[in-house]
Point group: C2
Chain length 228, copies 2
């Protein structure tokens, strides 16, 4: 029955052509419309909220959600933390991230504008400056760098997936003893090499730079994997 309520609310949204942020009926109204009790409706709303299909604001009401990939984020992080071999899951994750960025090499070197390349370079400068003391700023710049890298593709799905994978890695890696703040110098260097390859519109060099970037990450994971 709860499944019916979930489908009922989804159907309501589709039937009325609601968009993100639109207001949904109140819980009592949904109870009446779907013929279910308050508890059942609430449980259904919790499920839809977990999928970011609806967003609930206490004392305000229930709204259509942003349809983000937050559920994938939670799901993958927990998998990484639970897995007997979370390190293997991390390797899979890194492989996908590299695949996204390398697979779009040809299109990226063409799509990136000069101002975007400059933005990337500024981020590398930020990483360089915040190295050592400001670990917070370092990882934040890295996150922004990889987000900006795939943004010009104009593919929202790739951008969002890429972002989720970065976040999952940032959460899971430290728990496994894979620290990202080592080898900061080499990380900055490989990022700079990536930017230069983009500036020269050299797809082959771009791919090589990405290989160099992810190689130490892989070896660090393999290292943890061997000692466990």
């Amino acid at each position: 029955l709860r499944l019916e309520v979930v489908e009922g609310i989804k159907a309501y949204i589709l039937r009325n052509n609601l968009r993100s942020g639109d207001l949904l009926p109140t819980e009592p109204a949904l109870c009446a419309a779907l013929g279910a009790s308050r508890s059942s409706v609430r449980e259904a709303i919790r499920v839809l909220a977990a999928l970011d299909i609806v967003t609930v604001r206490h004392g305000h009401g229930t709204y259509v959600g942003r349809l983000s990939l937050s559920a994938l984020l939670e799901s993958l992080t927990f998998r990484g933390l639970l897995s007997a071999d979370g390190d293997l899951a991390l390797l899979d994750l890194i492989e996908v991230r590299e695949l996204f960025e390398r697979g779009m090499a040809d299109r990226l070197v063409g799509a990136l504008g000069e101002e975007q390349i400059s933005s990337l370079e500024e981020l590398v400068d930020d990483m360089s400056k915040s190295g050592g003391k400001d670990g917070e700023g370092f990882v934040e710049a890295d996150r922004a760098f990889h987000a900006l890298l795939v943004a010009p593709l104009g593919n929202d799905l790739i951008s969002q997936l890429s972002e989720v994978f970065w976040d999952v890695y940032a959460i899971v890696a430290p728990q496994l003893g894979v620290f990202t703040d080592e080898h900061e110098a080499s990380t900055v260097a490989s990022h700079r090499r990536i930017v230069n390859a983009l500036r020269n519109r050299d797809a082959v060099e771009f791919s090589a730079a990405l290989t160099e970037h992810y190689a130490p990450v892989r070896s660090r994971i393999a290292q943890v994997r061997a000692t466990s």
Copy 2:
């Protein structure tokens, strides 16, 4: 408070090193352990069930879930159905599927064994035979084909993501008027070309075959996009 309960249950699983299929405490036991009412515990369990972190069996108990990507499937399908331009979401989807298969071309032509290539060929034969009359068997063979294609990579994440994207496309495309059962002949032909490229260990031809395979899909989506 419900957030606390959700985190509490996740922490319980991690703390006790539970694996998929292991039994969790009963709802009353969780109430006592987490200091919350049954309603709150139930809502938390529904959230975790939506993420496939737990699985509930009526009259039996609550177990650790399979940690699948079912939440992503639901989330993406609803996004495709809701979006004002669900066709654009479909294009993004196809692009990622093509990226997965093309990006791994080099590794795939090396990793695929002879018996796996034969399995792929059998699936193409199935598609060829079930064309026209048996639409059900046709799409099922197509699904199996693309699953088998990325399986040898040994990357569970890619396999599962690939599967989810195929499923989402299969659900959303018909709703948008993009029918996959047209051009069956050309679909079979491009699949056969993919198999032959793999048999000849020709990565370049493999990529070209994939381009040929996805080109009509894209044009069909673009067609729908233009008429709306």
